[in-house]
């Protein structure tokens, strides 16, 4: 929707704000551009341009350690995202649509804790826990840890979306003799889909980027990409890392843009529906 004219600032203020805005964008993209540009540089010294080459991408694909850690990261990320999204969405529905049930109050509090807890604390407590229950450290423990914090993030995002959704839609479906499952499948779920996707994307990013918690609960052979990069980046900073980073960024951006396309389409139909209703 277009903005109310009350929002318009005086032209010179607007210009200053615009300049400030673009400068901040420059600030945000400078390191990124550096990473991408130097992934194509032939010089092994990152920071010094040495001519265009795709050799680093080639070498990255041939680096078994690197590829293994990438594979681990993707497996953990996908697994934790799927599980966390299902559990988190269900939790969000429980909190938003059902006002009174046993333990709701406690749950409402607990579900926010993983968001505010510092990384280090969470890493520590999960390590202590896995040690105590005798669970062997590895990809499994990493995935379990990621799911733990992702549930909360998904729940928060979906809940925000639910709050904005008109509950009358579900009632209308009930009036039309839809049972609960049908109502969910055909009415609720499509409407909250953008929120669910948003939450899933957030979970995916958080899982892929996690270093602290993963490094505490990992086990043999379960090095993930960020942890591997952490070790490698200290040792020999070659543009191979830039190549990996660029690749991951392209994949993530692709995912985000796709989800946004879906989201805007859903928003548009939602708004159209609302406008038609009023």
């Amino acid at each position: 929707m277009t903005l109310h004219q009350g929002a318009a600032a005086r032209p010179w203020v607007d210009r200053v704000l615009a300049i400030n805005g673009w400068m901040i964008f420059a600030f945000l993209y400078m390191p990124i551009l550096m990473v991408v540009v130097f992934s194509f540089s032939a010089s092994p010294n990152v920071g010094r341009w040495g001519g265009f080459t795709l050799a680093w991408y080639d070498r990255m694909l041939g680096n078994e350690q690197l590829m293994n850690s990438l594979r681990n990261s993707v497996i953990v990320a996908l697994l934790s995202t799927v599980v966390a999204t299902i559990l988190g969405t269900a939790a969000a529905i429980a909190l938003d649509r059902y006002r009174k049930w046993v333990g709701r109050g406690t749950f409402d509090a607990v579900v926010y804790l993983p968001i505010i807890i510092p990384d280090v604390t969470m890493a520590v407590m999960l390590l202590l826990w896995f040690t105590s229950i005798g669970m062997s450290l590895g990809l499994g423990t990493i995935a379990l840890s990621h799911i733990a914090f992702n549930i909360s993030f998904v729940a928060v995002v979906v809940r925000a979306r639910l709050a904005n959704m008109d509950p009358a839609m579900e009632e209308a479906a009930a009036d039309l003799y839809a049972d609960r499952w049908q109502a969910f499948r055909k009415v609720t779920f499509p409407l909250i889909m953008p929120g669910v996707l948003g939450g899933a994307l957030l979970a995916l990013t958080l899982s892929l980027d996690d270093v602290v918690i993963t490094s505490f609960v990992q086990g043999p052979g379960s090095t993930t990409l960020p942890v591997y990069v952490f070790g490698l980046i200290k040792r020999s900073v070659t543009p191979e890392i830039n190549a990996v980073s660029t690749l991951m960024m392209v994949m993530s951006v692709g995912l985000v843009l796709t989800s946004l396309m879906f989201q805007s389409r859903a928003d548009r139909t939602d708004r159209q529906r609302r406008r038609r209703k009023s």
Binding site: H4, L17, M34, I93, I147, I151, V156, L208, I233, L260
Partner: protein, 301 residues
């Protein structure tokens, strides 16, 4: 009143109270079952581990650092009152506050600019533009900054050329640049959400009443965007308090922060009970801060 509440009221006036009770009980069970999987999961992999942390903070230290479940004591907690810990905690607190202020100062005009673009498409595009850099790996971004700021980095060269600054790497400035870079989206997003939802007719009304631009901003826009400010501050402050990777990489690891100190207890110092006590203490502080937030404003993200 929301629709479900209205509905509930109408229902309460309906015919059969026994059926009503049964329906409500069914609702209650349904709610529980929806939440149950997540609830159980979080109990096992969050609540219980958390309890374990507090339990271990009273344990004694084994030779490898692991807690021994005997000789319970308050040693770890009393270590929190030592001057060393206080110094480290205060320093981390100060850094977190400064970072939050910096993020707000720079983030607000930026969020305002994005939120006041006329077309929705432009706003969305700009927002996505803010988020894209964060789809790259955090460590790589931080190391990219390290390279930009070191002796033959682009920024250093720019500084020498303009004469405004020398090498910034390993100075506190570098640390704040890194932190600002890492947390800016956390402040921009809630601010954007708050400003975008603003009722601009109020601003217009203020202008009609002969308020100057800056007065209208100060007395109407700014107070109305307070929920965004509060949300943004919390989202930046809490993680900044535990941050240690960025300060280590960009600041040369010359200062001990809470994050470093805790990790040290599990590595070099081999004193897991103390590490647990510190983690537990910080969590309590964070909880207090969050409750304060919820009291000021109940609107969620």
């Amino acid at each position: 009143m929301t629709l479900p509440d209205q509905h509930e009221q109408v229902e309460q006036e309906a015919v059969n109270p026994r059926l009503e009770r049964k329906a409500r009980k069914q609702e209650s069970w349904r709610g529980f079952f929806h939440a149950a999987p997540a609830y159980v999961y979080l109990t096992f992999f969050f609540t219980l581990p958390l309890i374990m942390v507090y339990v271990f903070s009273f344990a004694s230290r084994g030779p490898t650092g692991k807690p021994r479940l005997e000789d319970w004591n308050f040693d770890s907690w009393s270590k929190l009152t030592e001057p060393l810990f206080r110094e480290i905690a205060l320093r981390s607190l100060w850094m977190a506050i400064l970072n939050t202020a910096l993020c707000l100062l720079i983030g607000y005009p930026f969020a305002y600019w994005i939120a006041t673009r006329a077309s929705q498409k432009t706003r969305t595009l700009l927002l996505v533009g803010v988020l894209i850099p964060f789809w790259s790996n955090f460590l790589i971004r931080t190391y990219a900054w390290r390279m930009l700021l070191d002796s033959d980095g682009l920024i250093t060269q720019l500084g020498e050329w303009t004469g405004f600054w020398g090498q910034l790497l390993f100075t506190p400035t570098a640390v704040f640049i890194g932190l600002l870079y890492g947390y800016l989206p956390f402040v921009v997003l809630p601010l954007y959400a708050a400003i975008e939802r603003l009722d601009w007719t109020l601003v217009e009304a203020g202008r009609d009443l002969y308020a100057s631009g800056s007065a209208a901003f100060r007395k109407i826009t700014l107070p109305l965007s307070k929920p965004g400010i509060v949300a943004g501050s919390i989202l930046v402050f809490i993680p900044s308090l535990g941050a240690y990777v960025t300060p280590d990489i960009l600041g040369g690891a010359k200062t001990t922060l809470l994050g470093n100190y805790i990790v040290t207890q599990f590595t070099a110092a081999r004193n897991w009970p103390f590490g647990s006590a510190m983690s537990g203490a910080i969590l309590i502080l964070m909880l207090a801060a969050t409750i304060l937030y919820f009291r000021t404003d109940t609107r969620t993200i």
